[in-house]
């Protein structure tokens, strides 16, 4: 239920308490480590925006090779061919696997781009104190964090095909360099989402409305 607008938002930070992000114990500001689970404490993740941007830059740099270089090499009766992520999706679509082609297209191409854009939006809006859409931003953050792992599908598809067609004679499949690059994209975007402290979205409003 949405809070009535008359309610004053008191945060843990405003009363000098730091919430442990691992176990949820409220610790006094003087503590460096959580009194219950001994995790490192911080009022807000230190350098959160900088870390997020750094991981995002890495993700963008890896995203280019992951899409333009081959993700796997197929040898069929001595004839060698390479395919990229997009190429694989198109081939699957032509073979009639519409559903699975859409899933891979969403997981490998759409989701990484959306994730990167959402995180850039979050960082920019916090950095420049853009006072709008905080509920939407909180929701987008939650979705970004939740959906992160699902981009890994294509890497697993390569792993399975490679394993299944090993020493296969007529057909062999070898992993391409893009598979590693793409795994890197997924991992770095996940780390970017982890580095972003969602509490920053709400901190801007402490002095303003509500």
């Amino acid at each position: 239920m949405p809070a009535p607008s008359s309610v004053k938002s008191v945060t843990a930070k405003s009363v000098g308490l730091q919430n442990c992000r691992v176990c949820g114990l409220l610790n006094d500001a003087k503590h460096k480590y959580c009194q219950r689970c001994h995790a490192r404490l911080a009022m807000r993740t230190p350098l959160s925006l900088q870390k997020t941007i750094a991981w995002l830059l890495t993700a963008v740099l890896l995203y280019l090779p992951s899409n333009f270089l081959p993700i796997m090499h197929t040898t069929n009766f001595g004839r060698e061919s390479s395919s990229t992520i997009v190429g694989g999706v198109i081939l699957l679509w032509e073979q009639g696997g519409y559903f699975i082609a859409s899933v891979i297209f969403a997981a490998s191409i759409v989701i990484p781009i959306i994730k990167i854009l959402v995180l850039i939006w979050l960082v920019v809006s916090v950095k420049y104190n853009l006072f709008t859409h905080r509920h939407e931003r909180a929701l987008m953050y939650r979705l970004t964090e939740f959906i992160g792992r699902w981009s890994m599908i294509d890497v697993f598809v390569v792993a399975i095909l490679v394993a299944l067609f090993q020493l296969g004679g007529i057909l062999t499949v070898a992993p391409g360099i893009a598979a590693l690059a793409f795994a890197g994209v997924v991992i770095t975007t996940m780390l970017a989402a982890k580095a972003f402290d969602p509490r920053l979205i709400w901190d801007q409003y402490q002095n303003g409305d509500k």
Binding site: M1, A3, S9, V10, T11, A12, L17, N19, V22, C23, G24, L25, L26, D28, Q35, R36, C37, H38, A39, L92, Q95, G97, I100, V103, I104, H135, A138, R142, E145, G148, R149, W150, M152, I153, V155, F156, V157, A159, I160, L161, V162, A163, L164, Q166, L167, G168, G169, I170, L171, A174, P175, A179, L180, A183, I187, P198, R199, I201, W202, D203
Partner: protein, 214 residues
């Protein structure tokens, strides 16, 4: 007793830091943050017990999933099978060592560490109200590692590759394939039953018990 004096009556939302009175919930209630609507604690009367039970099921299923062929297919007289383990191992043979390590970690290593960790910490906690040696760092690792288990993503990957293969060969689903599906279900149920909020409160109670007995 002094260890949880701070913040006994209040909790803060993980996502927006709003101070909230510690929710007093019945078994069928969940708590959400009134400001950002993120989940504070999920419902269920005894979800830690469920987490332990599902973790046991998961361990057994993971062992089975590693014993038998995972997928097999035959085309033009050739019959090939692969095991779950080989989906990472074969990458290693193609000089993709890092990729092999990543795939192995995401689909086998991290999921099995998670279920073993859940059993190691929860068994003594539930049955004898004891915090096992190293229990707190392990519990902390569990909540961090949770996000890096990709067993269910791998399963979707398997289904995607099956659609690719079926056009060219007859695919056989091995016993391990079915065991892995059940493993993924048990793992997901176990991890989703492991509620952060309830777990640490339960641990606090156990700690208080230990103080009383000493």
């Amino acid at each position: 007793m002094d260890c949880d004096k701070v913040g006994k009556d209040y909790v803060a939302c993980f996502e927006c830091d709003l101070l909230i009175e510690t929710p007093k919930l019945t078994a069928k209630q969940s708590a959400f943050c009134p400001r950002c609507h993120s989940l504070i604690t999920a419902k269920s009367s005894n979800n830690l017990q469920y987490a332990l039970a599902y973790a046991f099921a998961a361990v057994i299923l993971l062992v089975v999933a590693n014993l038998f062929p995972f997928l097999g297919f035959s085309a033009q007289g050739n019959k090939l099978t692969m095991t779950l383990w080989q989906s990472a191992q074969t990458l290693y043979h193609y000089q993709s060592e890092i990729l092999a390590l990543l795939v192995f970690s995401f689909i086998i290593l991290i999921p099995s560490l998670l279920v073993l960790g859940v059993i190691y910490v929860l068994w003594p906690l539930i049955f004898s109200r004891q915090i096992v040696k190293g229990g707190i760092p392990i519990a902390r690792a569990l909540f961090t590692l949770k996000h890096w288990s990709m067993a269910e993503v791998f399963l979707i990957g398997v289904i995607a590759s099956l659609t690719k293969i079926t056009s060219m060969a007859q695919v056989e689903l091995g016993l391990s394939f079915w065991a892995y599906i059940l493993f993924v279900i048990a793992l997901t149920l176990s991890l989703s039953s492991l509620d952060k909020y309830r777990f640490w409160h339960y641990l606090d109670q156990a700690k208080r018990c230990q103080h009383l007995h000493q």
